[in-house]
């Protein structure tokens, strides 16, 4: 990668978004840097998805400034964002279920050979690359010809991430990639996030689980009801502080419930830490 770690790729200042009379997002400052993982945390409806849809070109912000590679921008479409090296992976709409893995991998950026009317898909090459890229990222698929709906949720998510990385994304946005996954599958995805980071990508990682965010994140943006609640460097905050800030003072009951589950999660954290070194 040409970008050095720490270069600002996407910067937001005072960004807000209205849907009609609904204020979904207000006053958000954010700095996505190359080789760093920025986590966005918040409860349901906090505005996390709205925030990343603005960066990914699916919605336009109605207030504030969005800078990409140092230039002020409003993104009109996902294609525009992709052309600027911003790729988003969504839990729900990452892939076309009935199409084979390799076709999904290259969808929208297919490799071809020949010219003019004789231009055809280079099927062999795409199959080989898809298989190899996935293998490099630690996903050993049975068969890249199988329809992607036959893969597990975690594998599907990883294919979508591998695709974004392969096509030279400089900013990778992940919307709750671990929300529907088991502990082990989450570990696979989180490890993958770190690999993307090590390749020099700026990663924006959305989650409502601080136990997933803390081990991989470098910075944490907390959202609540569309407003920023805090923006921390990792060195300035502990997992407990993050968790309690998210839960809020009054919701101790919920917090206790969350902490009960840390048994499984601390195993996960150890798992991810091991992959880090």
């Amino acid at each position: 990668m040409t970008t050095t770690t720490g270069t600002s790729l996407v910067t937001m200042r005072g960004v807000g978004k209205r849907y009609g009379n609904i204020l979904a997002l207000q006053d958000v400052d954010l700095d996505v840097q190359a080789g760093r993982v920025t986590c966005v945390l918040g409860d349901n409806g906090a505005g996390k998805s709205t925030l990343i849809k603005i960066i990914a070109g699916r919605h336009q912000h109605s207030e504030g400034v969005l800078e990409i590679h140092g230039e002020e921008r409003t993104l009109g479409s996902p294609r525009e964002a992709l052309d600027l090296g911003i790729a988003a992976v969504y839990q729900d709409l990452a892939v076309v279920p009935l199409m084979p893995v390799w076709r999904n991998f290259f969808l929208g950026s297919e490799l071809t050979k020949g010219r003019g009317p004789a231009r055809i898909l280079d099927v062999k090459k795409m199959q080989r690359i898809a298989k190899q890229e996935l293998l490099d990222m630690g996903i050993d698929l049975r068969d890249v010809n199988q329809p992607i709906h036959q893969l597990s949720g975690g594998e599907r998510q990883c294919v979508a991430i591998a695709r974004a990385v392969y096509f030279g994304a400089r900013v990778l946005i992940l919307d709750e990639p671990t929300a529907a996954l088991g502990v082990k599958q989450s570990g696979v995805v989180l490890r993958y996030v770190l690999r993307a980071r090590d390749r020099g990508l700026g990663v924006v990682f959305i989650t409502h689980n601080p136990h997933h965010a803390y081990p991989v994140g470098d910075r944490f943006l907390l959202l609540k009801r569309g407003r920023p609640l805090g923006y921390h460097e990792k060195k300035d905050v502990t997992l407990d502080e993050l968790t309690s800030q998210m839960a809020g003072g009054a919701e101790l009951e919920e917090l206790a419930h969350e902490l009960e589950q840390t048994d499984a999660d601390s195993a996960l954290i150890a798992d991810v830490r091991a992959a880090e070194v």
């Binding site: 990914a56 709409l93 892939v95 199409m99 969808l107 950026s109 297919e110 231009r119 010809n145 329809p147």
Partner: protein, 351 residues
């Protein structure tokens, strides 16, 4: 490229021990058009048994001609259905194209080739309009094309009455260019001692082109993706809107080809014809294994659906039954084929 397929081709580059090798039969059964192949063979065997004349070469030519007049449209309609959309205006669009060519050249006294050219532009334009309305309004294609179906039906009747003063287009058989156009769009080719209609060739050529497009080109990838999940497709940069508009334009091209054949085979067209044929095209695609919800199917499947249609249609005549029963058989075929498709698809997806 011998077969059409959904994107599920070729042997995997590297084998894997978790992959239980599926037998060649199982893999064949997994193809979308498999149900239609079984159906076509069964229908052929049935009529061959009850009416031996059915297997004569001249009968085959007749059956294929009948199949081609559905099949040409079924190619465009199948691709459109794989791309996730319907077109209810196709039946009247064929007549619309023929009427345009006939009345334009008759009214202005031009060479009929001018009318043919105008009809091409108008037919592609109608396809574009359908597609454009669809992506702009975001209404279901069922509604959009139902509206254009009604409007085109009205235009066909109304304009013909204005121009020709009746319900059939003026005869252009004696006009300049008619014979040469006839020798293109309604040619008969002698081969193996039998006269074959050129539409059979056009049909086969369209199937080959469509299959190539679907399986081996970027546009084919986009068609499957647009029908399979349009949001996912556009999120990775697939031009979904352009793809869908293009599919409707493709249907327009098919309507023009068939419209020109009808015009030059008979010299005149009835303005009220075509209504109801749109369902035959859709039925052919569905029998051929195209998923109603999009994202799955093949051009060969649509062709097989049309072939079944042609065989039942003519087979009833050869068997000397009352043709009143044709619709009943068509309905039965549709029911059986879709059930077979469903079962085949379910079994194929299980590993």
């Amino acid at each position: 490229m011998a077969t059409a397929t959904t994107p599920a081709p070729a042997a995997s580059p590297t084998a894997d021990e978790r992959l239980v090798r599926r037998s060649a039969v199982a893999r064949l059964l997994a193809r979308p058009e498999m149900g239609a192949v079984v159906g076509a063979v069964a229908v052929f065997a049935f009529f061959a048994a009850v009416a031996p004349v059915f297997t004569q070469l001249s009968s085959v030519a007749t059956v294929l001609y009948g199949a081609s007049t559905i099949g040409i449209m079924a190619v465009g309609v199948s691709l459109l259905m794989i791309g996730g959309e319907f077109d209810l205006s196709t039946g009247v669009a064929v007549v619309f194209s023929a009427l345009t060519a006939a009345q334009f050249s008759w009214f202005l006294g031009t060479n009929v080739w001018v009318g043919v050219g105008v009809a091409l532009v108008v037919s592609l334009g109608l396809g574009f309009l359908n597609g454009y309305l669809l992506v702009v309004t975001k209404l279901p294609s069922f509604i959009v094309t139902l509206a254009t179906f009604l409007m085109i039906t009205g235009i066909n009747l109304g304009v013909t009455r204005l121009v020709a003063g009746g319900v059939s287009s003026p005869s252009i058989a004696s006009m300049d260019g008619f014979e040469s156009a006839r020798s293109v769009f309604a040619a008969k080719i002698s081969f193996l001692g039998v006269r074959w209609e050129v539409t059979v060739l056009i049909w086969l050529a369209l199937v080959v082109i469509a299959t190539h497009l679907l399986v081996r080109t970027r546009v084919g990838n986009w068609i499957f993706a647009a029908g399979g999940d349009d949001l996912a497709a556009s999120a990775v940069g697939v031009p979904v809107k352009r793809t869908k508009i293009g599919l409707f334009v493709g249907v327009g091209l098919c309507a023009w080809l068939l419209g020109m054949h009808n015009l030059f085979a008979f010299g005149t067209v009835q303005s009220g014809e075509g209504v109801g044929n749109e369902f035959l095209y859709i039925i052919a695609a569905v029998i051929g294994g195209c998923l109603l919800t999009g994202g799955y199917g093949s051009a060969v499947g649509g062709a097989l659906g049309a072939l079944i249609f042609g065989m039942v249609n003519k087979g009833i005549v050869y068997a000397q039954w009352n043709p009143d029963w044709f619709k009943f058989f068509l309905g039965l075929m549709l029911l059986l084929a879709t059930i077979v498709n469903l079962v085949v698809k379910k079994r194929a997806e299980q590993r």
